[in-house]
């Protein structure tokens, strides 16, 4: 029993050590802009194309549902223009970043893990090294930087979409006027609402792409290994994302 706990602890410490090592190597590759610069643009386009449709689709429906749920909850006791407040705050602070983040974990994180995993098991990563490239600056940095930079943009658009569909639902389905919706939207608005959500999104983008790269690059054992890595990337990044979400709420919203 004690032995098992001990071995588990050693394994966990090793895993953290390897992860720290990986991040260290990544940071060391940062000056190599000549290699990662151009590739980052390619990855940014890919992150955008891959995740924008899903993120906007989810946000559009969430906006409608938020508006309807708010009015259902208020049951006439709370003034209806609070619908605008609720839609805006919820989209900006929580649902925009988190739902888009989970979608991104499923699409971008998984596809990066699958791609790098395939490259690893088919020795393409080894081949890169023998051609004197550093996989960190050729493969990892472009993806992580693209994820960190693009994700706030995607989330901003998702938030906007959610608010617009929430507003449309309010005027079409709830008999709320545009003025009232906007009044509600502005009511408790603070600039922090915006930057908090977008900052959080950047950390999500960083985490998801980093996990995709780490998991992808330690893939072993053929097609089966690639499948395993892909699922692992999604699970790990989704868990980390939710933990990180709670962490930022604790640190920044109190």
């Amino acid at each position: 029993m004690i032995e098992r706990v001990g071995r588990g602890t050693v394994r966990a410490i090793n895993a953290v050590g390897r992860f720290g090592h990986f991040v260290g190597d990544m940071v060391r590759a940062v000056p190599d802009v000549a290699t990662w610069g151009r590739l980052t643009l390619v990855q940014m386009r890919r992150v955008g194309v891959d995740s924008l449709p899903v993120a906007l689709f989810i946000a559009a429906f969430t906006g409608v549902v938020l508006a309807l749920q708010a009015s259902y909850t208020f049951t006439g006791t709370v003034p209806l223009y609070f619908v605008g407040t609720l839609v805006g705050k919820t989209m900006m602070l929580e649902l925009g970043p988190v739902l888009a983040g989970l979608a991104l974990a499923g699409r971008v994180g998984a596809s990066m893990a699958a791609e790098l995993g395939t490259m690893k098991v088919t020795e393409q990563v080894d081949a890169l090294e023998t051609l004197a490239y550093d996989p960190q600056s050729f493969l990892v940095l472009p993806r992580v930087i693209a994820g960190t930079a693009m994700f706030p943009v995607i989330v901003a658009l998702a938030i906007l979409t959610g608010i617009v569909t929430g507003w449309l639902a309010s005027i079409v389905l709830l008999d709320l006027s545009t003025q009232e919706f906007i009044k509600g939207l502005k009511l408790f608005y603070r600039f922090k609402d915006t930057w908090f959500g977008l900052f959080k999104s950047a950390t999500f983008g960083f985490t998801i792409t980093l996990v995709g790269c780490v998991v992808g690059l330690r893939t072993r054992g053929g097609a089966e290994g690639v499948g395993r890595s892909t699922t692992q990337a999604v699970v790990y990044s989704a868990i980390l994302l939710l933990v990180l979400d709670a962490f930022w709420a604790l640190v920044l919203l109190r």
């Binding site: 080894d126 890169l128 090294e129 490239y133």
Partner: protein, 241 residues
């Protein structure tokens, strides 16, 4: 010169290399033969620092590979062309871009790069496939692109991991001729890992047999052919026990 010095490597407590000592002389082609899973690829990967030894080391022109820092390792890798067992081409790049990738890293001018790519593809008889993707090529063609990618860099050493495995006899003979041609063209030192004896006799100056993690016998082609070691005899005659 490449020297394996008492190289040890185990995976999950299973020893693969167990005191491998071997010398590759300048300008020769040394063939390493051995059973599947005997650690031939593992040995080759130690030369370019893709794997880290548990003990012992590989010395390339006086440099102990496992002790090199990143810049020194990168410099070393620039002198060595590695031809992978399954080609390891980049799926997302065309044939020409695959061959050019290593050159681009060296900051060659566009024209010079195009010229070198053309030359390398011509050497492996693949002129005109520039714009195709690896997925559109046969296994043999992919291996030839792999060779082109390695030799475009004009390395001092070329390491081939099973260049003829999985190819038909005629294509194998083409690969053998290619390796000979590459060596004449570049004057490079070669290490060829294979279990194809016909290929070993054609391209090799010397042959070393890897068995149970160390060298069982090393000698000229004639010496190996005349070997009286039962393990070596069994392997080169391809008898089942």
């Amino acid at each position: 010169m490449i020297e394996f010095q008492d190289l040890h490597k185990a995976f999950a407590a299973k020893p693969v290399l167990d005191g491998l000592t071997l010398e590759v002389r300048d300008r020769e082609t040394l063939v390493i033969i051995g059973y599947s899973g005997s650690g031939k690829s593992v040995a080759l990967k130690h030369i370019v620092g893709l794997l880290h030894p548990d003990a012992g080391d590989v010395i390339v022109d006086g440099r102990a590979v496992s002790t090199l820092d990143r810049p020194a390792l990168t410099a070393l890798r620039r002198e060595i062309g590695f031809v992978f067992q399954f080609a390891a081409l980049f799926d997302s790049l065309t044939v020409a871009d695959n061959v050019a990738l290593g050159l681009r890293r060296r900051g060659l001018a566009e024209e010079e790069m195009a010229e070198r790519v053309r030359e390398a593809l011509a050497l492996v008889d693949l002129t005109g496939t520039d714009e195709r993707y690896p997925a559109e090529l046969s296994g043999g063609m992919r291996k030839r692109v792999g060779i082109a990618r390695a030799i475009a860099l004009r390395p001092r050493y070329v390491l081939y991991d099973e260049p003829t495995t999985g190819l038909d006899p005629v294509t194998s003979a083409v690969m053998d001729r290619l390796m000979v041609r590459t060596r004449e063209h570049l004057g490079a030192t070669g290490v060829v890992v294979t279990h194809d004896m016909r290929s070993a006799y054609t391209v090799g100056d010397r042959i070393a047999m890897l068995y149970e993690g160390r060298i069982r016998q090393v000698g000229t082609v004639a010496e190996i052919q005349a070997s009286e070691d039962p393990v070596v005899r069994q392997f080169i005659e391809g008898r089942a026990a």
